[in-house]
Every structure is written in C-alpha cells, then in structure tokens.
Symmetry: C3
Subunit: 140 residues, 3 copies
C-alpha cells in the first residue's frame, strides 16, 4: 500500500520550527498503516527538514544560533550566488547539511518516533514563504 | 512485503562505532528479501546514524575529532539548552548534521553496501545509555 | 512494485555536480510508477549525494568553497587516516555531513522535485574515479 500527499506548510519566520502536528493534521490516512515508512520531502533548496528535540523551545533557538555561526552570512563575500542577499547561498548550504527529507517508521497507525523526537522545518531564508512538502507512505 | 523490528543497541562510549554486524545479527529476516530498502532509524536526539568507512578504526576516531572541533563544547556558553552539561546541546546539533536514519538498498537478502561501507552509531553524549533503533524493510 | 538498478556515474572532477539527467537516462522504468519513492544510494565513503539548486552553476562552485573551508585539508594534521593524502579523511567527513543517499518522491512516472531542485553528486576526492549508485524504487 502506497499513498502520497502534497501538503503546504504555512510561512514561518527564519529559524527552526516543530511541525509534527501540522503534518499529522493533514495525514489522517496514517491510521490505516500497521507497519511502514513515511518519507517527508521538502520541495525547496533554502529550507530543510530534520528530526530533533520536541520539548524545549530553546533547542530550536540554539540550533539557529549554531547554524548561523557555522555558515555565517559574513562569508557571503566568498560566494558568487548572492543575488538575493547574504541569506541566499548560506540557505542552500544549510539545506544540504540538514537534508531535504526525513524518513520515519510508522507503527500501528502512528509515526514511531522516540519520546523526545519531533519533525523540524528549518527555514533558512529571512522571508521564505509557505513551503511545499510531499509525504509518501509505503506500508501494509 | 514489509517487516519491522525494534532493536536495542548496547551502550557505547562517546564516539563513532561500527554497528553493521550488531544490526545484522538481529535481522535474520533480511535473507527473505530479494530487492528492497531498509530504513534504520534511531529513536533519540543526541545520537545519530551515518554510513562511512568500515575498515580502519582511525576513521571513527578522526570523525570524533572533527565533530568535536566543528561543534565545540566550549561554545555551550552561546546556548540555552545546557541543563545536562556542555555535551547536551552540542549532541543535538551533531545529531541533526548527521541524521536520525540511513536508508540502505537490499539485494539478494543482504545490505547492498559498497566494499568499504558500514553503518555507524554516532554517540554524542558522554553517557548515552543503550539506544533504540527501528528497522523497517520494504521489498519483495 | 519494487525495482532496483545499479548504475555507474562517470568520473567527475572534485566538486559538486548535477546528475539528475545522468540518472534519469538510466531509469526509464520510472514511467511505470504512479506513486512511490526512489532511494538513490552511493556505494562509496568519499563521495556523497545531496539535493540542491539546479539552475545556477555558481551554487555548485560555492558549495565546494564552503565545504573546503568547513572541513579544511590543512586540518589533516589532526587526523590519523591520511594515508591517501590530505583529501582522504576530509572526504570521509564531508560524505557523512552530506549523506550517502537521497530519497525522492515519485509521482506520475517522474521524480516529484521542486522546480529548482536537482540531484548532486558530491565528489570529495581529487581523483575519485567512476562511482556506483544503487537506485531502488518502491511504489505502485
């Protein structure tokens, strides 16, 4: 059994955002899967998806602090692809470090995440707009 | 055909560890799959999984050296989420850079890895405990 | 429905290369899948795969600039695994940051990528040779 759905995630400010529930609300079909995987894929190159801590909001803030230091906008002078600003090429770099998709096990109709895990949308642009995500579920 | 199994990987010291065989020993069902994929997913946010070199133990040591320099604990002063120590937030960061899962092709009942590839458990905490991994196999 | 194919990607110079079409030309079976996922897996530990911008070649050049600065070869003195040169351990590190595989949704016989997305082969070695990739498609 395979099902697929393109969902739109509302515009978020630059930073890391927990979107597990925003995805689940649009994925009621999940309850019909007893075992399988969900591939969650973002159709953009300046935002990304990752799995991280779902409880303390300061983790999301600290992630933003880290990635701004690891991929600093002050380095934009080394890059050519900066037409849209100093957050242009740095966003592409962050997107490849974090990745365009996460793949999550499904067990008994639910994402089989650890107690402390959630899905993050990582918005790397200052003004990123809404983001399109394709969820593909394969299972039985 | 889908099968799924939650396995426990024994506590490891902080660092990078080759766990291909520890997984395979708990995955005898693999021999029934002629073609497919295995998603190997760690249910934690301060340890991660990656694919890398399976022969020279110094690669695993050098990986630890690199990641400790790229995500230094001395930067913990910039973070808020440090209640559990200087290896708290840095572990979450490393986990997102490396990723919570790897997806590997299966061919003729075996992981179809390159000659030099193995599965690493990346333990980012000083005392991480045992780790839970969900393996989901989809194939024919 | 599952199909699997091992393809060889021609030797590329060190750097980031758009290989979407090189893969698609060897994957004509894709047209038979209405919904599913493709796992594209590289069988090497010093080259990697990622999804990024498909239009402006300077993105690929800027990626190479970034990763050479983030994982500098001048740091090879900190590593033990340097028998094959200063690009040896650094290539393994870059490979784990970027990842050995990408998983992409398939819709109506095509990769369901965003308008600006393409598949990159990231060649981290100075002389990497041709690279083997296993594509596994699961779908209906």
């Amino acid at each position: 059994m395979v099902f697929q759905k393109e969902i739109t995630v509302k515009q978020k400010p630059r930073g890391f955002h927990l979107i597990t529930n925003e995805i689940l609300l649009q994925l009621t079909e999940l309850k019909n899967i007893s075992a399988g995987i969900a591939n969650i894929f973002i159709k953009h190159t300046s935002a990304s998806l990752t799995i991280n801590e779902n409880a303390d909001p300061s983790v999301r803030e600290d992630m933003e602090i880290y990635f701004n230091r690891a991929v600093p906008e002050s380095d934009a002078r080394f890059y050519e692809h900066t037409l849209e600003g100093t957050d242009d090429m740095t966003s592409h770099i962050k997107a490849s470090i974090l990745g365009a998709s996460v793949t999550i096990p499904i067990t008994n109709g639910k994402f089989n995440l650890g107690t402390w895990q959630g899905i993050y949308l990582c918005e790397h642009r200052n003004y990123g707009g809404s983001r399109k995500i394709v969820v593909t579920v394969t299972g039985v």
